[in-house]
Subunit: 285 residues, 4 copies
Amino acid sequence: MKVRTDLALEERESFDGSGVEIHGVEVEESCDEERDVRLTRVKIVSERGAREMGKSRGTYLTLEAPGLASPDEDYHREVSEMIADLLRELTGTAESVLVAGLGNRDVTPDALGPQAVSNLMITRHLIREYGREMMGMDGCCVVSGIVPGVMAQTGMETSEILQGIIEETRPDLLIVIDALAARSTRRLGRTVQITDTGIQPGSGVGNHRGSLTKESLGIPVIAIGVPTVVEAAAIVYDAQGNCEKMPPHLNGMFVTPKNIDEMIKQLSFTLSEALNMVFSETKKA
Amino acid sequence: MKVRTDLALEERESFDGSGVEIHGVEVEESCDEERDVRLTRVKIVSERGAREMGKSRGTYLTLEAPGLASPDEDYHREVSEMIADLLRELTGTAESVLVAGLGNRDVTPDALGPQAVSNLMITRHLIREYGREMMGMDGCCVVSGIVPGVMAQTGMETSEILQGIIEETRPDLLIVIDALAARSTRRLGRTVQITDTGIQPGSGVGNHRGSLTKESLGIPVIAIGVPTVVEAAAIVYDAQGNCEKMPPHLNGMFVTPKNIDEMIKQLSFTLSEALNMVFSETKKA
Amino acid sequence: MKVRTDLALEERESFDGSGVEIHGVEVEESCDEERDVRLTRVKIVSERGAREMGKSRGTYLTLEAPGLASPDEDYHREVSEMIADLLRELTGTAESVLVAGLGNRDVTPDALGPQAVSNLMITRHLIREYGREMMGMDGCCVVSGIVPGVMAQTGMETSEILQGIIEETRPDLLIVIDALAARSTRRLGRTVQITDTGIQPGSGVGNHRGSLTKESLGIPVIAIGVPTVVEAAAIVYDAQGNCEKMPPHLNGMFVTPKNIDEMIKQLSFTLSEALNMVFSETKKA
Amino acid sequence: MKVRTDLALEERESFDGSGVEIHGVEVEESCDEERDVRLTRVKIVSERGAREMGKSRGTYLTLEAPGLASPDEDYHREVSEMIADLLRELTGTAESVLVAGLGNRDVTPDALGPQAVSNLMITRHLIREYGREMMGMDGCCVVSGIVPGVMAQTGMETSEILQGIIEETRPDLLIVIDALAARSTRRLGRTVQITDTGIQPGSGVGNHRGSLTKESLGIPVIAIGVPTVVEAAAIVYDAQGNCEKMPPHLNGMFVTPKNIDEMIKQLSFTLSEALNMVFSETKKA
């Protein structure tokens, strides 16, 4: 039995040193030493690899950037540019995109998505009313955004809400931003995962129950996540090396840093800047 | 030319004293003198009446309660009960209801709907998972809630978002809560309008553009509104008696009281209590 | 070595079963079985008791009420009344009180104090301008309130800010409301501690550094606290029974429940109601 | 009788065209045509000038920048730099500064000050603990910040709270940021006033009652303000040219634009950036 992680990177690490190579899982690492950023590409290419990893087939890009923990604005801008490049790699061309900020805006470590969407350049209504040309938005994508809330607030699955909105407004692409659970507290706020597999049931700080995938929604789904919590059970597991005596009252508890407000504020801005670079900035000749 | 009002009551008043009786508009007034509450029922029963009033056919119930301006909790509870009775009159029986809090949560006088929804008892997910009986909710309605945001935040019409969610989750009834524009500052925060006509384009503090009606959405729509602003043009009109020299830069400006934060906090609570009484409290034998 | 707790109750429990009786610490328990509420009075009456407990001399009243975890409004009102009675016991007569909501309003589990102060009936300015009689406030206390923020936001110690405000406005009594750290996750949100010893350095979710006591501030200080987090180290300690291999990166991490937003919303209301009962409600003949 | 304005610029304009020159008031204008920014320096140098202007003796610098209404980040950064230059002109050298964000964070047009302080680089606690050198902050100012709240929330005058904090923490300089009332809606969000006279009773959106000046507080006070509202009475006055038939219920009402949330978000950031440039950025050789 293992403790849950939303990071493909951590899932793969749990096989490290075991001498086991996982069939159907390709891993590629690169490093930007100047900026102290490590990029890992995990591709799960077979059903067997998916089963062993407990993650869907697809591509998982992970940036590890310890500097994200510092408030250095210039550094955050550089990371925004890297994220923008990775997004362009996964999204291909889309005329219109819906960005959904998942999570609970009233619980600080779960507010990453809602805060990121609040900083997005939203253009769908402007382009529909005035046209791209008049707005000086040639080459820009039509961007809409939604903060659906969590089930305790709405009584509805996030997947139900997004499904309905997608059917009504017909974007080419869905991007979901979500706060994730990692296994290691050392990753909190310093790792960005981007994947073309969307969101699986049980993932995220708030444990989404319905899947948000191309299969379920009919359009490509890119998920951008940053770990902001660790399940309380994970640090007990770390300490005692097993889950045998896991206290049941740790269910529904998470571990998060005390400066989580600053972390969320900076990261949400870094992510929204990356999205603005990809979708809203006019392509220069 | 007249200044906009979202209140049927004010629309009708503009005919008062003119000696004109409006065909197809029935008005009935009653008064609870002990509580200093006046109830006006305006029924627009013909197309001609609708045209002259500039409002849709249907029933408009308006409570005028000057005491709403005070922070007296007991008084607010009594008004919640009156609103609950009026809601029961209009809603009939519904097994499931979606409550939408319209408006912009970041603009205080427009935050009435979002704040009211945040105090609602949301039960859809609980009843679906555990059943009414196990939750002790026999006789309760399935309640879901959504705060769709405004077009500047989402790029989408409120009507598009709600249409999609309704098609996906199939409630029997939609209730929308919205901050309204009145003509008279004396009505701000002291008047509650409940109507079975839903929301018309151009209404609300934020000027919704798509209609939210039974015709457009396929299910009955009850709108609950409280005026929290007056168009800036209205007070100029009041002062000079005409609109001839209306300064153009007053467009997009509204008038609101300085203690609007307290007003919204109390009124949103009063409305959510009324909804909880109607939909979530177990019917006692 | 022990993991920190802000609860005198938990500190005393760590001696239980050890056969050790602590000199200078008096304990008295009572139980309201109907409401499932347990009240423990811990009095530390000697310096030796204070040293062994690691807490200041004074009285610590602790209510344990598992029902606080449920959203039952009637039950919360009953607990508010019990808290009001305990407050009256500790505060004696005060003509004027300053209530400080400590903690960080942007970090959900630390927002208890700020949210409680936002629901208080603030009367100082009204009584100063119009007099008690005209306001119908005979027998009421003059109430002022402040949310000083945390050091990362202000650059100042909470103790510096409150000291200055007290010297300028001269209240008879300071009440501080603060989110606490417990040792056991089972206490989170279900325990209320009221003490006449004020706040010690190192206490609270945000670890206040300056003391807030009668000695340092010159007026009596009552502290009301509810545990909303457990130090991450505590659950590791619980699991492995010692602190030998405590991972250093757990410093500055805390454990909190996923529904912390609802917990804070309800508890802050329960506390502010208790304070309103004690200080702002007119004494009836 | 005239309608209130917090802008010295508007006060002076009311004498324009009357052929009257005001003794003791010096006015100097300059223009940055490329950026479409106009700078007006009003110096009130005599008591007579102060009396006629209804403003204190001192220097009032006013930037008019219509582009502030647009969301262009680069433009806002340029304005931040201009504001920084003006601040340096008025503040001289200060080792330590307290920045107070006046106003009500729960009323959108009054939240300018609170939001600006939340984006400030706060350094006092860091420099006190680690020293300037270790923090790489040579040449930086010690910065502390406070959001005191408004009288309806605290029961205290802002002046009482700040007086107390200043006596306790002894900054060299107080900077207050406040949302202002203008006479003309055309100035809303497009004008920045910086003055070395501090804050006078009756100024600001929330009408501060105590003065915040060098005389009352013992240290220099710089006030930075942006008009975000117009008194409701002002637009009626504009329309009918006099105040004879001013409806009394317009008291306590203000006029503000519908997109006030975006305006406050951008302007608060522009102001905090300017302050960070002046006080927290290391002087480069």
